[in-house]
Amino acid sequence: MVTKIQISEVGKRYEGRNPVEALSDVTLTVDDSEFVCLVGPSGCGKSTLLRMIMGLHRPSAGTVDVFADDPVLPPTAMVFQDYSIFPWKTVEQNVRFGFEGRRLPRAECDARVDKWLERLGLSQFRRAYPAALSGGMRQRVSIARALAVEPEVLLMDEPFAALDAQLRRVLQEELLALWQQDRRTVVFVTHSLEEAILLGDRIVVMSARPGRIIADIRVPFDRPRSPQIRTAPEFAELEGEIWAQLRDEVDRSLVGGAR
Amino acid sequence: GSPEASGGGATIGDDGKLTERTELTIAIPGKQLPILAPIMAKAWKKFDERNLDVTIETLASDEAFPLLATGKLDGIWTGPSVGLFNAVAGGADVRMVSPGNYLSEESGGGIWVSSALLNGREFEPSMLRGKKFASSQGNTGTSMVAFSQLLESGGVGVDEVEIVTMSASDAVPALENGSISGAIVQEPLDVALEKNNSAVRVSPQFPDGWNNTTLLFGPSLLRDNPDAGKVFVAALRSTFVDKLQGDYLADPERVADIAEQLEQPVETLQQSTSDLYPTELSFPDEYVATHEQVWRQWPDLLTYDEPLTTEQVIDTQFMDWANEH
């Protein structure tokens, strides 16, 4: 397998009034076309790690490398946890913004924008400003913007958190289809173990702050997976295993009041 | 206001002093040489001697005028202006009561034109046709008298010259870079112009025997308490007579006093020409009518039609009393 993302001994400390040790000694390799799910207690540094892969923050120690097939274009696009869409752009303009950094024929842009607005059920609202959208609709705009770019590496920070269960399942399938078809690399932060098992090749479990990697589990189910695997005993077993590890972490951090 | 409001009913005693101490407030446009007299009269205790307690406020003339007309100021020291005439015609109780300084023959102040305009030739008023000419009061001041006479001598109408408003100091750079062709210039600006040879003085600022500044009184002194006004003018005259004759700026003692009051270095003052001050106070003949004629040449300046009489504009009782005492 070819390495796509190489995270080596990364640490991150936020300086300031009261400094926070967010990550400590994180080493992780993501292969080309791998779908990695990242789980861990709230505040453990998942978003921080994604931001560093994206090049938005610099680590305090270690290096993060992303290897790109394209000689020019940056390989990553991201769905932000807080959506980060622009209030001064309409839904359509927000999605189109994803292409601003890339040289793409106008017709191609139009087609992709239409496609993703359609898939995310936003067509009717293409001319609406974010202020007139519901929470879930804003999140969908953010998802559409990142997916429309079709990047080599897709970084998704709890992308489906604000969506209803049904839509979530639809989009999970969309995402899997996209991934299988183009073999993109995905790093996917989620709080749902079910979602992680359903989607991921690997599940990386992080400890409470300062975040370290405490488990890196390969998901044993074959592709394509159907939602039916939820009922398989291995599924419950795997979920239980991850669960046990997480519980310790959360308890530890809650008891210390130290999240 | 009532007599009480303005210094009470003090009258003149036998010694030429007021019987009671009286407070007066007068305004001057700035602490400069032409405005020297009231400042120094106060410093040299000429007002004190006559039982007057004078406060001097620095205020631009335009700002001071309403205060004078409403009795909030007792007098202002300034030049005659269109505003005064219009106000008088409109019924304001304001009069000229005494002349102030006169410019000496040697004074550098006057009408200057740029060397660029002359271009080596002798000055002709017609050279100013269609040119810009700067005056700090625009066309509304007393300087227009000499200027219009100058133009007339060359057969040029006042409407053939564009008169722009610009402070005298600003006129110096403007003359030098050719954006204006002439200006009314006061000392000490002439030194700068002469040094650079950038402009030439072609006429005095005032007709022969015409005063530069004028003292105006408002209703408080004209009506309510004329005795205080008389004593005030007399105090000024005695300042003129005792201290401001001859080349007083050459006198080390007096110039030191003056420098202290004006907050200017002695050396600066000594470069200036001493202004002249009259020992007998009186206004030139036809003072009012001449001003009116000059200003009438512009259609929109005087807001009344019937010419004013001298008595409407000048109140001589104060000068007359002062000349006696």
């Binding site: 980060s84 400003y129 | 509304t140």
Partner: protein, 289 residues
């Protein structure tokens, strides 16, 4: 604040009720009424003040030499319009004003963007510019006359300078206060340079820049009038100064009123501009009703 009304329920408990108000029942009529109300009030207040002034003047309660009655000012205004003075003055003033305003604002905005985006430029120039801000413009006039001569240019420059400082401060502070999330989203999609400016930075600071513009417009009017006070021979400012120095208070007030109206119209224009340029901002809706 809250849209709830309180009452008492059948069982004596306190009942908090939300129900449709006028606005919900008939949005159009409501909007129309609000608009009418707003316009009426906006006109009424000045009219009442003017009437009070007129009455005081007629009753001799105020000194009409200095505060002539509005009717008198009005008739003077009619004269001045009739003989064309007012129009000439206005043309001169508005010309200088607009050229100065636009150029000062554009240069100031660019400077603000530069200072906001480059740490080095900020460190090097902000202290200097802060100090230059308060250099009295009128004291600089002689120097401008020296360099540029008499005429329109020095006035335009003075107006431009006045606007420039307000513009760069507004833009700089707006950029520094930008929420980081916007910049991160731009970086994440590799939008740089001019595109980043156009799609992210400019729209994000636009609301505050327009506030700066509104303040600038007023200041520019003040400066152009102030400069015409001390120099020149035309323009509304000259007219005000000249009228006052020849003791024609009614003419002066005509000038003052014209300047006030000019300022009001320009500020309306800026508000209109805000509505068009910033359709997403809350204030756009707030102003409408």
């Amino acid at each position: 604040m809250s849209d709830r009304t309180t009452g008492t329920g059948d069982d004596g408990r306190r009942r908090w009720r939300v129900q449709p108000g006028q606005q919900e029942r008939n949005p159009r009529a409501f909007a129309r009424r609000r608009r009418l109300e707003r316009r009426l009030l906006g006109v009424l207040v000045p009219v009442v003040l003017l009437v009070a002034w007129e009455l005081c003047a007629n009753a001799g309660l105020i000194d009409t030499r200095f505060f002539p009655a509005p009717s008198q000012i009005g008739s003077t205004a009619v004269d001045m319009i009739g003989n064309g003075i007012l129009l000439t003055d206005l043309t001169v003033t508005v010309r200088v004003l607009l050229i100065g305003l636009v150029s000062g604002f554009v240069v100031g905005t660019v400077a603000g963007l530069l200072l906001g985006l480059s740490r080095i430029a900020r460190a090097a120039l902000e202290p200097l510019l802060s100090a230059l801000y308060t250099i009295p413009k009128l004291a600089v006039l002689p120097l401008l006359l020296l360099i540029f001569g008499v005429g329109e240019l020095p006035k335009v420059i003075l107006v431009g300078l006045g606007v420039f400082f307000i513009a760069w401060i507004s833009v700089l502070e707006a950029i520094l206060d930008l929420p980081g999330a916007y910049g991160e989203a731009a970086t994440a999609f590799d939008v740089r340079g001019w595109r980043r400016m156009r799609h992210v930075t400019l729209p994000a600071v636009l609301p505050q820049v327009l506030v700066g513009l509104r303040i600038s417009v007023g200041n520019a009017v003040l400066i152009v009038v102030g400069v015409e006070f001390v120099s020149g021979d035309e323009g509304i400012g000259y007219r005000i100064w000249n009228s006052w120095s020849i003791f024609a208070a009614d003419r002066m007030y005509v000038g003052i009123v014209v300047v006030a109206l000019l300022g009001y119209l320009l500020s309306l224009l800026v508000q209109l501009l805000s509505r068009v340029c910033v359709p997403w901002a809350p204030s756009t809706a707030a102003r409408r009703d």
